[in-house]
Amino acid sequence: MNPIHTVDYIRILPELVLTAFGIIVMMADPLLKPGASRKGLGLISLVGTVAAIAAVFCQIAWMHRDATFSQPGWFGMVRVDSFAIFFHLLIPAIAGVCILASLEYLDAQNIQSGEYYALILFGTVGMVLMSSAIELVLIFIALEISSISTYILACYRRRTASSTESAIKYFLLGSFATAFFLYGVALMFGATGSTSIPAIKAALTNDHPGLLAVAATALMIVGLGFKVASAPFHIWTPDVYEGAPAPIVALMSTGPKAAAFAVLLRVLFATQPTDWFWLIWVSAALSMTLGNFGALMQNNVKRLLAYSSIAHAGYLLVAFAAANETGLSAAIFYTAAYAAMNVGAFAVVSHVAAGGERYVSIDDYAGMGRRSPLLAFTLTIFMLSLIGIPATVGFLGKFYVFRAALSVSAHPNAMVGLTVIGLVNSAVASYYYLRLIVVMYMREPVSTEPLPPVSGSMRLALVLAAIATIYLGVIPHRVANSSEAGARDLEPIVNSAPTAVTVTIPAPATPAK
């Protein structure tokens, strides 16, 4: 008899779809003559992401049909709950926008290879899988899939030294961190005898977690902290982002990050929040401060955005520190918020950068308001959102985060302190984001050479991102609700969530069966 049921295939439907399209693209590539534009493949892969999203909707429908759907499947490997669904929707969307942004970029850099798109799709598979995996083995593999594909993509402008350098840095440090993560997993396996998160959760909550478990958690935090670029493991970010192709930065600063955050959530909340509260607190404060202050004097837009992404990871960690349901939903929402605005920003960057990524310094944006109103306008929206001006998603994201931070019962003063640090940071940050706006609108252009016309695909990408930024900023109900649902679904695993930070051993886990 076949122990695997149909529903199990539904549980990994998006992954299947993405893989299928990836393979199609990969196969189709040799059929095109070398040197020809790969736009067509790009469109196919775009369709792939859309199909993946459709698949997710099918999953949602299924979920509504039978309740057991969100139980663990594949012998406790994956768990497609609303938490996973949220990221299932988010990540392919990101990938889609990045592909849109890449279409003209590749031609501009004259890179003709379909594998590019295939790699994006496969990487997406990994990320999507990360968000639904609840078994460390699977998590590890998914993580590696997304990482390795991004290593390769980062290296894609391989004629240029900067690109390869960023790739090697990313690769070496990435594997370095992975080793830490693995060591943590190993110790965790030693502590609990299992690598399945629910099991670990159960083991840790029942008998008093020993030193091994704590050390294991620590090492896993190191590994994942590297992936989400939170201080003090953020240090690779600026170099890698500067060297990598802009659309790929758009992807890797949002997609893998979101996925990694998902994993971090699942892992962290399998353990005792009291263990890591101060860890996250410090890391959050550090990330925000280092990120923002590092960005203050940046003249390279890509580096600037890299630092800003560190800072935003910090804001996100604030929500982690809140460690209750509102905190979770805030964190989940923030990933989406950050993705929306950051992808948009990098899309603009990748267009302005033009062939060989020549124009990436702030001065190249001078007088953008005249040279290309559309780009300037959209970029302004993204910057405002990154600052956290109301009516943009950036503001709501921060708002939810700090609301969560202030609503925790334990450590109230610590959290108020963290909130103040965060808010002051966002005020400081407004300076360098504003700089970009200032340059675009208040300076006269230095290079009279007109910007390349914005292609339809890029327009679409920008408009999509901008609309998402504004829409989520003004009418966020649906997304906010689904993020809350996600948080609630994480709760069975994180059953200590509502009474989050309390030293008392929480009630035993409801068996996830």
Binding site: V137, E165, K169, L172, S175, Y183, A509
Partner: protein
């Protein structure tokens, strides 16, 4: 028979040596090797723990028995990943060499500040 902690300490030592290698070696390939060393250290502890749990089976709160062998499986997957990483990593190293004509990691520092 050997105490578990011996194995673990050996793995810890190997891991630390791997980190040392990463920090102190200049040749990118060697650095990559020290990463492999770290992975091996991890594998050792996996196997050791698997063995330990095999001797001390226990039942989790939700009535599931733990599966000691998953440690071995994990090692298996780690090796797969390591192989994949090796392929990609070496490819990257090659393209770095093509653009830089050097394998000295200290010379690969265009991107800074």
């Amino acid at each position: 028979m050997v105490p578990l902690s011996w194995y673990l300490i050996l793995s810890a030592v190997l891991f630390s040596l791997g980190v040392f290698g990463f920090l102190l070696k200049r040749n990118i390939i060697t650095i990559f090797m020290s990463i492999e060393l770290m992975l091996n250290a991890v594998n050792l502890s996996f196997v050791a723990f698997a063995n330990y749990w095999n001797m001390h089976p226990r039942v989790l709160a939700d009535g599931q028995a733990i599966v000691p062998l998953s440690g071995h499986v994990f090692v298996f997957f780690v090796m797969v990943v390591a192989a994949a990483e090796a392929a990609v990593g070496l490819a990257i190293i090659i393209s770095v060499f093509r653009t830089r004509e050097t394998l000295n990691v200290d010379r690969v520092n265009l991107l800074k500040l």
